[in-house]
Symmetry: C2
Subunit: 446 residues, 2 copies
């Protein structure tokens, strides 16, 4: 087992399955089935379990019915629920029907949860113990449970007769405790647990804070419903970030990877915001029509419109991006808005000062300034620089406050997308610019 320096990525493929999964999307349907059928059972199993729910369903649909049933029955309930969600509408029922009653009941119960709640992430299978067992009894009891696919969470949960969760014990503790000790004396009663409806965005954070690899999910009476293992949380964290990033880019979040989304679905998710923002942006034309006379008198003013509005857009994008992410990670809370406001106001002032200085130097010292911008190039330079300062301050503060406002009224702060902030700032930016122009050039040029 030797690795070469250059060969980073293939170092991983000491595990054959991972290499297969990486190349999987590139294979044709026929190649997938042939490869899958050619693998020894153990490897086929490993490959199957490491595929995404979509890929699992794609493969199953290609297999013979009896094989499909075999693979379906080998999956634990939470993965089955994902698979049912990934399957086409008209085949969901077929999947459920091919399971035994107990399993299909478990899967239906999981499907009742929203996909992005703790309940939708959990598996209802876990190792359970009773408080008054000895270690020896406990190990015997676990051996009986271990034939069912209980997952590798590494903990056993201690339930009272009403199924209320009263303690947890790690398998390591179980392994190393004296044989005669009782569960209730060794179990930990300090429990971090999740309610069924907690959002998956919070689940990732709670895992990171707790340092545990599995968290129990309980109902409102403290009765244990299942376990969320941390691998589901890793996926959930990445998924939440992807959703936020897509919203911040000015589109609806996609439900599948880029190449798995059909062309028309992709158009549908993107055109909405583009059209809304476009209509919003037409307001700039309306706003500017009030200043048409100014422009016809001093055409040089028109040359700086893109510069002005994009400065506002850029500083606004930056601020909103920063605040949306900090809110998502709970680094800041709704009630911190005042502190953030002051801080971003100070940042905006600094940015405005620096950029307007660059702007002034650029206009005044440009070799051909006088030819391009006319005799009053200095006056125009002052108007543009002041406008840049005003628009940048306005953009920074607006971009920073908009996510708070959205969160405050119960919307997703990530909807304060970069294009949304930019469009909002554009309309006001134009007004700021021409108001300053009217004020300064009023006596002379306009």
């Amino acid at each position: 087992m030797k690795f070469t320096e250059e060969d980073q990525e293939s170092a991983l493929s000491a595990n054959y399955t991972i290499r297969l999964v990486e190349n999987w999307p590139e294979l044709s349907s026929k190649e997938k089935v042939d490869l899958f059928n050619s693998l020894p059972h153990g490897e086929a199993e490993e490959l199957f379990y490491s595929l995404s729910a979509e890929d699992q369903w794609e493969l199953l649909a290609l297999l013979a019915p009896y094989e499909r049933r075999h693979w379906l029955r080998s999956l634990p309930p939470d993965d089955l629920a994902d698979l049912v969600q990934a399957a086409p509408e008209d085949q969901k029922y077929d999947i459920l029907r091919s399971l035994d009653d107990k399993r299909s009941g478990e899967v239906m119960a999981l499907l009742a949860y929203a996909e992005d709640e703790a309940g939708g992430l959990m598996t209802p299978l876990f190792l359970r113990l009773k408080p008054d067992m000895t270690m020896e009894q406990a190990i015997h009891y676990l051996r009986l449970q271990v034939n069912s696919p209980v997952g590798g969470s590494g903990y056993a949960y201690v339930l009272d007769p009403d199924q209320v969760l009263v303690g947890v014990i790690s398998l390591k503790e179980l392994l190393l405790a004296p044989k005669t000790a009782r569960i209730q004396d060794i179990m930990s009663t300090k429990l971090t647990m999740l309610t069924e409806t907690i959002d998956q965005e919070d689940v990732g954070r709670i895992f990171a804070e707790s340092g545990l690899h599995a968290l129990p999910v309980v109902d409102h009476d403290g009765r244990m419903k299942g376990v969320v293992t941390i691998d589901d949380a890793v996926e959930a964290v990445a998924e939440e970030a992807t959703e936020d990033i897509q919203k911040m880019g000015g589109m609806e979040a996609l439900e599948h990877p880029y190449l798995k989304v059909s062309f028309f679905e992709m158009i549908r998710k993107r055109i909405g915001w583009l059209a809304i923002l476009f209509v919003g942006e037409t307001l700039t034309a309306s706003a500017m029509s009030y200043y048409e006379e100014h422009i016809s008198k001093v055409v040089a003013l028109a040359l700086f419109i893109p510069l002005i509005i994009s400065s506002g857009g850029n500083s606004g994008s930056q601020a909103s991006t920063l605040i949306i992410r900090a809110l998502a990670l709970k680094e800041i809370r709704l009630k911190d808005w005042k502190m953030v406001f002051l801080r971003e106001l100070a940042s905006g002032l600094t940015f405005g000062l620096v950029l307007s200085l660059i702007c002034l130097l650029r206009i005044v010292f440009w070799p051909s300034a006088q030819t391009i911008y006319g005799d009053h190039y200095l006056l125009i330079g002052i108007v543009v620089s002041l406008s840049v300062a005003g628009v940048v301050i306005w953009g920074t503060v607006t971009g920073a406050m908009l996510p708070f406002i959205l969160r405050g009224v119960g919307l997703d702060p990530a909807s304060a997308s970069t294009p949304f902030v930019a469009t909002l700032v554009d309309v006001t930016g134009v007004t700021i610019y021409f108001s300053i122009a009217a004020l300064i050039l009023g006596g002379s040029l306009l």
Copy 2:
């Protein structure tokens, strides 16, 4: 243990520590120390371990020296390494000096790794076994190791005499296997492992694919160096997403949470891109100066400048955001660029068609169209609509291809930030607009 429907968030605080950690940033230094000292040892411990490295250091700095030493020595090497990195430059050495030689050696070894490599995430402590042990011997051997803080990874690793990793066994298997079985007959030899220098971006993905809760880190000769547990991966996934989001917002990635970054550090991270983009955007003024005469003849053309360039900016932002994230998640690869190009070209054509149609209707059917835009409002409407179509197609394709180009030349695709794409598209957008105007209005108005 009853939870009310409304009381989602506090349902978690069945675990007292998590509640403490959530309120922690709001406490004054004095309150932190007082609270910490007032807790029973077990709870103080739990609180301390769940704090971030920054918060741990802040607290330690306030404690008496002998107490500080006690807490430092209780930390496992990977957390110590994080703490040393969080501490001010002049105190890093003091921390290392207060550890025993073995531990400070381990910490120094970890500090040699970059923070965002697998080596920087791992702990060098893990449960180890030899291949020829029986289960009974193994459990005895583990009891000897378990006094040191070996972490709860849930696996024991089987090493040959050269420390080369040859197998892995879960504690569950160890717990449930017959006493006389030998490790080598039960251990799994299909290993997923990480090399020391693999990037943390990939670590999260490999965890999700492997479904394991801990992965061994090996050097180039397959010798075991340590273990990355999945909780570190959860944090790494969130961290990588945050870095990408901040870069995509047009700034340098922050190293600490929003409220922990000093004002001047924050300015420094943000002003650079703002200034560069501002200077880039001044090219729009230069480009437009070529068309100054056009504008003076048909002032109405100026009114649509913001609409045109923002349409390009918005469609470009959307496309670049989508592609950057898909590249980061390995949903698409560099070699997929041609397929993405065709797809985004088709998307751009669709968006361009829809938006230019909206545009034409908006200009022609606006009640006061003739008053605002002059007698030739229809001709101007056609110019603007065609320009919108052109700019949107150009923006979509540019936004989608830029991340590929950056990745191709070895830069981070996330640097194709929304403001960067918008600025790039602005300059060309102005040129597209006035070229179309010159072409269509050439005979009549210009």
